[in-house]
Structure formats: structure tokens, C-alpha cells
């Protein structure tokens, strides 16, 4: 009885400590991708590989060939990412630029069309969120890593802003549902800032 209680208490403590320092264990729905109002597949838009169906088989086009992702650039939709603090999500109008012509028969696209027709904004569940007392500016990070000579942690040279995204956000292009892959806790930030001799003054982020 006491042993069971102690074990539970230890596990709970471990969970809290882990969640405090990094990402929580993926149990009880923690760490899972949130359910979104429209099941937007990044694989179809940003990915450029063969698309897979839920059963793991390749998705086929009407002529029998394998369907590939469009390989769109991240900045096509998250267009503020190299211009301001927030990467920004695209307005419904931008979705409609293409979807008034394509995909109108798909269940999820219908939701977008309905939002457009009824002029309702789409409200997404935030996947990445930093606390209020932290200021993170996408633009500065994009600018730094796209400068020649500043190699990404992966050892590669970023040529365009889109090459930088996966450093923190993981391989979003191959995620059907977007999930947070890095802890994005202060230690995570500071480690990287130290590696690149970026300022680690408190006011760099806390201002």
C-alpha cells in the first residue's frame, strides 16, 4: 500500500520535474498534437515526398501515379516570418486563392470554403507558445541564419528563410498533424545562444 503510493508519488514527481525542465511525457494527451478546426496536412502543402494514406499505402492520383506533396515554401503562408516577430498564419482569403479552384470536393477544404463564405475567421489551436515574459522575434533568427557563414545546428547553410524553420519546429513538412518537438524552455534557448555567441543578457528576451 505504502509502496504503491510511493511509486505513484515518484512517477508524478518525475512527470512534474520532466515537464518543468523539458517537454512532458507523452501520456494522458500531454505532448500530443492538438485537434485543429481544419485538419490541415502540411504533408500535402509543404512536403514534397510521396503522400501516404492512413493505412500506410501511397496515395494515388486519378491516373494511378503516386501523389506527391506540393513542396510549397513555408514563407508562402507564414509570410511574416522574415519580416516581424510572429511568423503569422495565413488569412482565409489566401487559402481561397487556390482553393476556389482546387480541392473543393474535400471535406476539410469545404470547412475553409464555408469559413470564407460566412466570413468567419478560422481559430487554430496554438502548438508553439512561449510564456508572456519572453519575447521571441522570428525575423532576427531568420536574418542571422540566412547570412553566409552562419551554419545551422545541423551543419548546413540556410539559403532562404524556409531552411531555418525545422531547426526549432522539426520536420513540419512531413507532419500530418503539427506537434511540438523541442522543449523551447529557457535552457533550450540559452544553449543555442551560447553556441552561436548570441547575447545571453536577460533583456535579450525578457523585456
Amino acid at each position: 500500500m505504502v509502496a504503491t503510493g510511493g511509486l505513484l508519488l515518484t512517477l508524478a514527481g518525475l512527470f512534474v520535474v520532466r515537464a518543468w525542465w523539458t517537454t512532458p511525457f507523452e501520456v494522458l494527451g500531454f505532448g500530443a498534437a492538438p485537434e485543429q478546426p481544419v485538419a490541415f496536412p502540411h504533408t500535402v502543402h509543404a512536403g514534397d515526398g510521396v503522400l501516404l494514406m492512413e493505412d500506410g499505402h501511397p496515395k494515388l492520383n486519378s491516373d494511378g501515379s503516386e501523389a506527391y506533396g506540393l513542396g510549397m515554401d513555408c514563407t508562402y503562408c507564414h509570410r511574416n516570418v522574415d519580416k516581424g516577430a510572429a511568423a503569422s498564419v495565413p488569412p482565409v482569403e489566401q487559402c481561397m486563392d487556390c482553393h476556389k479552384a482546387v480541392g473543393g470536393d474535400l471535406q476539410e477544404v469545404k470547412k475553409v470554403i464555408q469559413a470564407w463564405d460566412t466570413r468567419q475567421p478560422l481559430v487554430w489551436e496554438r502548438v508553439h507558445r512561449l510564456p508572456d515574459h519572453v519575447r521571441f522575434v522570428h525575423e532576427a533568427h531568420m536574418r542571422f541564419f540566412t547570412q553566409p557563414g552562419n551554419l545551422l545546428p545541423s551543419g548546413q547553410q540556410a539559403l532562404v528563410p524556409s531552411d531555418v524553420c525545422s531547426t526549432c519546429h522539426g520536420d513540419v513538412a512531413n507532419m500530418v498533424e503539427v506537434n511540438q518537438v523541442r522543449s523551447l524552455k529557457m535552457g533550450d534557448c540559452v544553449d543555442c545562444h551560447r553556441d552561436y555567441s548570441a547575447p545571453t543578457d536577460c533583456v535579450t528576451c525578457h523585456y
Binding site: P91, D97, R126, D132
Partner: protein
């Protein structure tokens, strides 16, 4: 264990306090959400632009690339890959954006309500029904006419088959048409297609009447080549003589301008030929075919010493001799002679152009570098048939005049404005009035469309499929492809090609079958794009040229990306001997008839209409960018004007801006004077294309339509309109206006006196 009342209250108090406190620490719901706004925020700078290649219909024979951002066309540039213009473009191409977004565009079908006499909106379904009923109800199949601009490529093929299905006829309209040019090329070079003039590699160039840097044929291509001709690396600067009765932009660029008397261009050319043969500059064998074996004696009439030559050309014998020697000088080879424009628009038009192009035969520059390069047939078999090629040849004045006697029942016009662009004597307004039904496909309402019974709004070319087989081509096979770079801006516009296919299907002449398309059904109809793909398939199968691919889809994407297909290896290998010039019974080349209609005596002049540098024949007059583009010689904008010699004007008491009345037997117009020392004293020139009465808010009421006073003179051989064959009387009305011009609006910079060097003193 029991809980005391006191303990219970303590625990419940702590729990409540805890619940309230912890709830306050929660992250508010809205911070866990992120919202996609409905509309695009205006201050967001867009990320990506796309450039699509297509061909330009405003400036035929130019390939363009269009910058598209967020599905909107933003900027037009020349396609660097396209062989015709190689990255260059003109203001006319650039202004296509204004066509796309024009506030006056036709956006829904209009039908003339018989009771109100007005055009009222109807649906496409009813419009199609009305039109197919009218076509099906023709009393005689032959009483159907379709009038378009000169057509090329697959649209020519489709229209030709459509017309054949009705037993009707097609007529191509071009305002200042070049019927004589096509005839001359056929006669001298034996070609149905205009040749490439290799200006870039020529050393000496003589151009007669052709304003090739501004408006003639493929001006963007010629202007690019001219840069090479003048300033190309590792070559001597080419010399250029312009023989022209008007001081055009091209004449202004030349080393020497010879202000020939109107109509005398052919006499001058043959006089040059005479000198070239007489002085042994060219072997007389080259003149064998042209003179039917008679050689120099056949040219006797054209000796520069003859008084008649001087009278016809207004050029001295010594100057003609110098021109001839320069042209034939071995050090100046390859030398090139081109002619067109007003040189071919006289009663002696065909004679003039034949004589001019014969100069090339004499210096033997055909199909050689720096000379006249013949153009091969289109690469796609279906497009090289005579039926299709003839769709590109404009109708002559005589053909227009004969139209009124043909009892046309249904008349279809597409994108042309013959009411504005033909002289009154052509009788086109009577044809329209007498036809029982007139249908017009157009993007804009103009004077012709306003008279139609049914108006069908068409896409602009930036929204539509099409193709082009440039004529003149670059000397090898080119197939340019026009793709929609944006989705149609208005929902109510349709493609002309698609509509012809629908009409063809509904009135049961098996158009799709003839064209070899899949018949389709109610849901999926064959489209014009399918016809283009079929042609492209033919090209893919040939597996040669600039685009090759494993699969047809790969090939199709390849030609869309590059703006077309070309094969530089594919050119004309053989040539036929030229037809002889007209030789009379005395064995000598017959003197041409150079006649004019109109006023004689004091204050009378030869009237030289010319194409506007920006608006051409007025088709583009509705675009404010082009209205505001200054004329290169006068810097005039937004108006018509009369170019008149400064000295003559002074003698007549005319100042700049004086409204001049120009009267011919056909009518009277008034336009302000523009004084210019380089106007030959025996001519006045007026640009065509203005004077619209019903062509949208920007063109209507601007300037005058000079075609209204053009006399119905025709070329003796082709019966084409001799549009430079009118004489007018000029009268100063005494009214003076401020003319809209750029010249003089900024004070010129004054140079210090000591810096001026008088070149004449150095001789």
C-alpha cells in the same frame, strides 16, 4: 476518524482559496489559440511572385513573362528565351495589364432589345442559344461572314474550319494593311511568309518607308537587332539610310534621311538598280530573272539622269548614284534593303515594294548572313495549309467594297473595329446595317461592337489560351504558346476559341471531329486548349528543337515554362527565282502609275497617315498608359496632330497649336498643327488611331480619326487601299489651342558659350 466541524470549515476554506488561486494562474483560453483572419491584411508584404511565360497579342511576335503575385498580374517584361524579342519588350506589351483591369471591360453578354433599341445584359446560355439559332436559320449557308484581325496558329485553323462548316467566308481586318507587302514578298522571294531581315548582321541598310524601329512588322525584334547593327561588339558600326516621305522615329535614327516624294520609292529603287548595274557594281547575271533576261536596257526608263525620275522622287541624280554605290559597294556587304509602310500604300504600292526588294536580289543576300532570311513553314503540319496561312492576310479595300453586294445575313466580328479603321468608302457601316444579325466578340465596347445585335465578352489574352507562329519569324521555326497567367478577372468573360467549339458542336457540323478532338459530352466539352495540346503533341512526336521530353506532359510543361518551342536548325534551304518586274512590249520595265486623289493647287499637300508609336492603329487607344506615352518625334500625348513643315507653316501664317482643317474629297477633319523643320514641304502627316466616339472613357473624344478623310485609292495590282494616296487642302481655322506635349515643358540646360563647337567650321 471523525472530522470536527472546525476542521471541515478549515479544509473547505483552504480548498476554495486554492481553487480560486490556481484558476487565476491558468493560461487564458484565447492565448492558446491563434486566428486566421478572413481577409488578407493590406499591410502584409506578400512573400512570393511567380513569373509565367506567354505571348503578347498587343505586340504580335513578342514573347513576354508576367509577374503574378497572389493571383494578380503585376508587371510584364520581355521573355529572355523567346527568339523573336530575346528579352526586350515594348510599351504596348507592358500596357496589357491595363486591358486586364480596365474599368470599361465588357463583363457580361449583351443583347439588343428590339423595343428599346439598347443593349441589355443576358445570360451566356441564352446568348449561345440566340447565336446558334441565327446560324442555323441562315437562308443560304454562304451568307455568313466572320471578320477578325489577321489570325495565325491554331486559332486560324479553328476559325478556318468553323467558317468552312458554314460555307461562309473569313476576312482579316488590318487598318493600315500590308497586303502589298505580302504580295511583293511572294513575287520577289516566292514565299508565303514574310522573311526575317537580318539587320543585326548587315553592314549597310536602306529602308524605304518602313518605320521598323517603331511600328513596322516586328519592331521590338528589329530594334534589338538595330542595337547590334550600330554598337555590336567586334563589328563596324552599320550605316543606315532611310528613304521615307515622313521623318519617322526610324528616319531620325538613320545616318541619312532621303525625303522621297510620296509614291516615288519604287522609281528610286530601280534607279539605284540601274546605277548598280551600269557602273558594274553588281554582276548583271543577278538581274537576269528580274528583268526577264533583258538586263540593263530594261531599266533605261529609270536612269537617274532622266527628268521623270527626278520629278517622281524629288532626289538628285548625284544623290541617287551615291546611294546606289554605297549600297552595292563590296566593302558594305552584306547590304540589306527593306520596304513597307507608306512605300507600299500608293497606287504604285506593289511596284514600289517589288523594286525595293529586288535590290536584295541584285546584291545576292538572300538566305545569307546580314541579308533576307527566308522563313520556313510552321512546325505543325495542320498549321501550314494554305487555308490556314491565308487567314493571316488582310483583306484589300476592293474585298471590303464587294462585301456590301453579298447580302450578308449573319456577320461575326471578333476584336476588330472596321467601322473606325476603314475609310468610309469601304462601305462597312452599310454592310453592318444591312446584315440581319451582327454578333461581336470583344473585350471592350467600340464603334463596331456598339452596332452589334449580340455582344459576347471575351477574355483578354492574359486570361486565355492561344499560340503564335510569328510572321515574320526569326528565320527558323518558332511555335509560341499563350497561356492564361491569371484566372479570368471577371466571371462573365469567355474564350473565343472555346465558344467557336461550342457553337460548332451545337449546330451539328462536326467541328471537333474535323479537328481530331475527343468529342466529349455535356460535362466535359472539348476546349481550345485541347486543340493546342494536340498541336503540341505533334511537336513532341517530332522530338527535336528547344524542348524535348520523355513524356508528353513533360514536353507540355516545358513549352509553357519557356513560352514556346523553336528549332534553330530548321530553316529554308532552297529558294525560287524572283518573278520578273512588269516589262512592257518595248522590252522595258513599265513606268508605274503614281496617282493621288484630292485637292490640287495652293495649300494642298500629300496626306501621310502613320501608325501611332504606342497605340498602333487605335486598337490600343483605350489604354491610358499608351495615350500618355509621348510620340517619339513630336512628344505629343493624348491628341491627334498635323505635322507640317515649319517654313511652309510660317508662309501660311500657321503657328503651333493652330487648329488646321484638312479637307479631302472624302471628308474634313480638324487637328492642331505641330511645326517641324523635318517635314517635307509637300506633305502633312497625321497619326491614325484617335478620334474614337465610343471606345471607353479614355479614348472617346480624343483627337480625330484621319481614316475618315482617306480617299478610296487602291494599289493598281493588289487592289489594296493606297492609304497614302490622298491629297488634302489645309486651312487655318484661326483657333489656337495649347497642345499636350512634353517638349519644352522642362527648360533646356544652357551650355556656356565657350563649349559650343561648330562642327561645320571644321571641314
Amino acid at each position: 476518524m471523525g472530522i470536527t466541524r472546525r476542521q471541515f470549515l478549515r479544509w473547505s476554506g483552504v480548498s476554495t482559496l486554492g481553487a480560486v488561486m490556481f484558476n487565476g494562474c491558468r493560461i487564458p483560453e484565447e492565448e492558446l489559440q491563434i486566428e486566421s483572419p478572413v481577409d488578407m491584411p493590406e499591410d502584409l508584404v506578400s512573400g512570393i511572385d511567380n513569373w509565367y511565360a506567354t505571348v503578347c497579342q498587343h505586340d504580335m511576335s513578342s514573347g513576354i513573362i508576367v509577374r503574378v503575385v497572389e493571383g494578380r498580374a503585376k508587371k510584364i517584361e520581355g521573355n529572355p528565351d523567346y527568339p523573336m524579342n530575346q528579352g526586350r519588350h515594348s510599351a504596348r506589351s507592358e500596357a496589357a495589364l491595363q486591358s486586364l483591369y480596365h474599368p470599361d471591360r465588357l463583363v457580361e453578354p449583351l443583347y439588343r432589345d428590339q423595343r428599346l433599341g439598347q443593349l441589355v445584359p443576358i445570360s451566356w446560355a441564352s446568348a449561345r442559344q440566340i447565336l446558334s439559332d441565327k446560324l442555323a436559320g441562315l437562308s443560304d449557308k454562304g451568307k455568313f461572314r466572320i471578320v477578325t484581325g489577321p489570325l495565325r496558329g491554331h486559332l486560324a485553323l479553328l476559325t478556318s474550319e468553323f467558317v468552312k462548316g458554314y460555307g461562309g467566308a473569313h476576312m482579316a481586318f488590318e487598318s493600315l494593311e500590308q497586303v502589298t507587302l505580302k504580295a511583293a514578298i511572294k513575287s520577289v522571294f516566292g514565299q508565303n511568309r514574310l522573311p526575317e531581315f537580318d539587320i543585326a548582321n548587315a553592314k549597310h541598310l536602306v529602308a524605304f518607308g518602313a518605320d521598323f524601329l517603331s511600328t513596322w512588322q516586328a519592331p521590338v525584334r528589329y530594334a534589338r537587332a538595330y542595337g547590334e547593327f550600330r554598337q555590336g561588339e567586334s563589328r563596324r558600326r552599320g550605316t543606315h539610310v532611310q528613304v521615307d516621305s515622313r521623318f519617322s522615329m526610324t528616319a531620325a535614327s538613320a545616318d541619312e534621311w532621303v525625303p522621297v516624294k510620296p509614291g516615288g520609292e519604287g522609281v528610286l529603287a530601280l534607279s539605284m538598280a540601274y546605277v548598280m548595274i551600269r557602273d558594274g557594281y553588281v554582276p548583271s547575271v543577278h538581274a537576269q530573272a528580274l528583268t526577264d533576261g533583258k538586263l540593263l536596257p530594261a531599266l533605261d526608263n529609270f536612269s537617274p539622269e532622266n527628268e521623270s525620275v527626278r520629278n517622281a522622287t524629288g532626289v538628285d541624280a548625284s544623290r541617287i548614284e551615291t546611294l546606289a554605290h554605297e549600297f552595292a559597294n563590296p566593302g558594305n556587304q552584306p547590304a540589306l534593303a527593306i520596304g513597307g509602310g507608306s512605300a507600299g500604300a500608293h497606287t504604285s504600292g506593289l511596284f514600289n515594294l517589288k523594286a525595293i526588294y529586288a535590290l536584295n536580289v541584285l546584291v545576292n543576300n538572300i538566305n545569307s548572313k546580314g541579308g533576307v532570311i527566308l522563313n520556313p513553314d510552321p512546325p505543325i503540319k495542320e498549321l501550314s495549309g494554305q487555308d490556314v496561312v491565308s487567314m493571316g492576310t488582310p483583306a484589300s479595300l476592293e474585298e471590303w467594297q464587294s462585301l456590301s453586294g453579298q447580302n450578308v445575313e449573319v456577320l461575326m466580328t471578333r476584336g476588330v473595329n472596321p467601322i473606325h479603321g476603314l475609310p468610309k468608302a469601304a462601305g462597312f457601316s452599310e454592310v453592318m446595317a444591312n446584315a440581319s444579325f451582327v454578333v461581336s466578340f470583344a473585350s471592350f465596347l467600340d464603334e463596331t461592337v456598339a452596332l452589334a445585335d449580340l455582344v459576347l465578352p471575351e477574355h483578354t489574352y492574359l486570361e486565355d489560351w492561344g499560340d503564335d507562329v510569328p510572321d515574320p519569324g526569326p528565320g527558323y521555326q518558332v511555335f509560341g504558346i499563350q497561356q492564361p497567367v491569371v484566372r479570368p478577372f471577371h466571371e462573365g468573360t469567355r474564350s473565343f476559341g472555346d465558344e467557336l467549339l461550342i457553337l460548332g458542336a451545337s449546330v451539328a457540323n462536326d467541328l471537333t471531329g474535323i479537328l481530331g478532338l475527343e468529342p466529349g459530352d455535356e460535362q466535359i466539352r472539348p476546349e481550345f486548349r485541347d486543340l493546342l495540346r494536340k498541336g503540341a503533341y505533334d511537336l513532341w512526336m517530332q522530338n527535336r528543337g528547344s524542348v524535348k521530353a520523355e513524356t508528353f506532359d513533360g514536353f507540355w510543361n516545358g513549352i509553357l515554362e519557356r513560352g514556346g518551342w523553336w528549332d534553330m536548325e530548321e530553316n529554308v534551304k532552297s529558294q525560287s527565282a524572283p518573278d520578273p518586274l512588269p516589262i512592257g512590249s518595248d522590252g522595258k520595265i513599265t513606268w508605274p502609275t503614281i496617282e493621288f486623289q484630292g485637292q490640287q493647287g495652293v495649300d494642298t499637300f500629300n496626306l501621310l497617315p502613320f501608325l501611332s508609336n504606342s497605340m498602333m492603329d487605335g486598337t490600343l487607344a483605350h489604354l491610358p498608359w499608351l495615350q500618355a506615352t509621348p510620340d517619339p518625334i513630336t512628344s505629343m500625348t493624348w491628341h491627334s496632330w498635323v505635322e507640317i513643315n515649319s517654313k511652309t507653316a510660317k508662309d501660311m501664317g500657321i503657328k503651333e497649336g493652330d487648329m488646321l482643317e484638312l479637307s479631302s474629297p472624302s471628308g474634313i477633319v480638324e487637328a492642331p498643327a505641330y511645326l517641324h523643320p523635318a517635314v517635307p514641304p509637300w506633305t502633312v502627316s497625321v497619326p491614325v488611331g484617335q478620334g474614337h466616339t465610343d471606345y471607353g472613357q479614355y479614348a472617346s473624344g480624343v483627337g480625330v480619326n484621319i481614316m475618315n478623310i482617306i480617299a478610296p485609292m487602291v494599289d493598281a495590282d493588289t487592289r489594296a487601299l493606297a492609304w497614302a494616296g490622298t491629297r488634302v487642302k489645309v486651312r487655318n481655322t484661326g483657333v489656337n489651342i495649347d497642345i499636350p506635349k512634353f517638349e519644352g515643358s522642362v527648360p533646356s540646360i544652357e551650355a556656356e558659350e565657350g563649349q559650343i563647337i561648330q562642327i561645320t567650321n571644321l571641314h
